[in-house]
Symmetry: C2
Subunit: 328 residues, 2 copies
């Protein structure tokens, strides 16, 4: 991995550019959307001409964030960029094929991320694996260098940090995380309103999915593995949209006997998306996902498998249960 | 309400006493247990002879907290106290009848709480309605006056603060709350481990209750009210224990159309416990609960009603739906 640039070099690149694109990964989560818009709104306040691009657009449950109405999905017209900035995106490809094509035309690519596996694909890289969220890196960057931070910027960066830390519950949270939120509150940010919009404003569809999960989840390995198959029929019945399933797996994780949990999800292309979580540091779910061509973190990994979902689940659970038995 | 004592006066009372009882309210939650044990462990480290008393004992899901093995339920033997300290208890009676009888024999009662309705029933009172949790008041008290704070104290006070703020999501959270947690992390506290024990270690019974709730919850008032009846038969079927239902109402709150939600719960004495929440500051659920002899806060209130549960629910919902329609 190439050495990190200094934050001063990165800010200098931003200041000397006029036309800038800021992008993040496909299937954007709260950290992707919040980091992009936090930086975009700050750079616009600085007088820059900034395009916010997300290959898959903004998921509905995050549409309340200020600036989401200015996010575009990539077209094919050249953008005449001075600078492209990729946020929260662990590999270059994960910005999406159309977005990548647009970025490739930019003379300079800045890559800011907190994923430890990020290979440093930019000309200027700022990879800080100690930050629980890319939003935390952006906040530090803006505040350290006196870039504009108004309430709209703070809203976006707070949601980035809050969602990527599971509301400050994950092991990636550090003292700086809480000090940043204290500063945000002192600056007048209404964090409770944002928490309500993020965590207490789901469509009924989500409770219908949750209900199906609780009615049809399956234990195995003596109660230590808990899994659920999210089938096409259910998606269609409830009218599922992007974001509806976010965090559902945390409910499976709640059961005290469980050390590993999995959600299998039918994909439009007939494949099956697998999301796996470990609750015990001795169980490495990335090994199990790796067995099927995927990967990720020790405690949170994923992969895609050939359908049908029932067969994929059976194959995956066999390997997972084997790994669970190894930690006895 | 009498004026608050200074924290110096309260600490002086603690230092000059030798035999001290620390208590909190019946049906103790995370703030009650965590505040009591945080203070108890600090005072013990100071060399005091401290009895931790909870009328209903420690609920199972909080038993992991250090010091819970030393919590006693009240007997009838006099305790020979120099000092009694009631924490997080909005009325004197809410410590429980047996506990109150023991406290009444103490020459001095200190009353530390964050409930704005606390009438100041101690000889020395410290009521800070700006603190989101009594645990935050205790942390400030200990750190301001240099009382012992070790990891076991921090574990208890963190859980007190985390649970009473809904993991930092509620509107009572302030900048000081986050600064305290930053200090705790800098002192070496593993907040992620505690969050996992508090939020991701429920017995399967809890998911069974959640499943019943999602299968049987009822919308009314055009989807703006959502309620559930927790019946005796279900409690017996799952073997429900204290703490199993904590936070279940937050799942009802998640639905975006909902402004008010209610859980009705069969009590052993044939009455029905009602817990109501508002999501809209224009809807004051304490008015509705007050109509049935209960009360609480604008956004979170409760009451008890005569059974059977179906009739109680019908009567309560009629008044709640009336209030909901008033905010149109």
């Amino acid at each position: 991995m190439p050495a990190n640039a200094t934050t001063a070099e990165i800010v200098a690149a931003m200041r000397s550019a006029q036309r800038i694109a800021v992008v993040a990964h496909v299937r954007p989560d709260g950290d992707a959307v919040g980091s992009v818009l936090g930086l975009v709104l700050s750079l616009r306040a600085l007088g820059k001409d900034v395009i916010a691009i997300l290959e898959d657009g903004v998921p509905g449950h995050l549409a309340f964030l200020p600036g989401t109405d200015t996010v575009v999905q990539p077209g094919t017209e050249p953008l005449g960029l001075d600078l492209a900035i990729a946020l929260d995106t662990s590999t270059h490809e994960r910005v999406g094929a159309k977005t990548k094509a647009l970025l490739d035309a930019a003379p300079l690519l800045v890559n800011i991320d907190h994923h430890p596996t990020n290979p440093g694909y930019g000309q200027l890289n700022l990879i800080d694996a100690d930050s629980p969220a890319t939003g935390q890196i952006i906040y530090n960057l803006l505040s350290e260098h006196g870039l504009p931070i108004d309430d709209a910027v703070l809203q976006n960066l707070f949601v980035a940090i809050s969602t990527d830390t599971g509301s400050f519950q994950f092991s990636n949270v550090n003292a700086r995380t809480h000090r940043i939120v204290a500063e945000m509150i002192e600056a007048g940010l209404d964090t409770a309103r944002l928490a309500q919009l993020v965590y207490q404003s789901y469509p009924l569809r989500r409770l219908e999915l949750m209900r199906d999960m609780l009615n049809h989840m399956k234990f195995s390995a003596d109660g230590r593995v808990l899994s659920w198959q999210l089938r096409r029929e259910l998606m269609e019945a409830v009218g599922m949209q992007a974001g509806d399933t976010e965090g559902l797996i945390d409910i499976l994780r709640m059961v005290d006997s469980v050390v590993g949990c999995v959600i299998f999800e039918d994909m439009p292309d007939g494949k099956v998306r697998v999301s796996a979580r470990s609750k015990d540091s001795r169980l490495d779910v990335s090994v199990v996902c790796g067995h099927f061509g995927g990967g990720g973190h020790r405690m949170a990994s994923g992969t895609r498998m050939k359908g049908p979902i029932e067969e994929a689940a059976q194959k995956f659970l066999e390997v997972l249960e084997h790994e669970v038995r190894r930690i006895d």
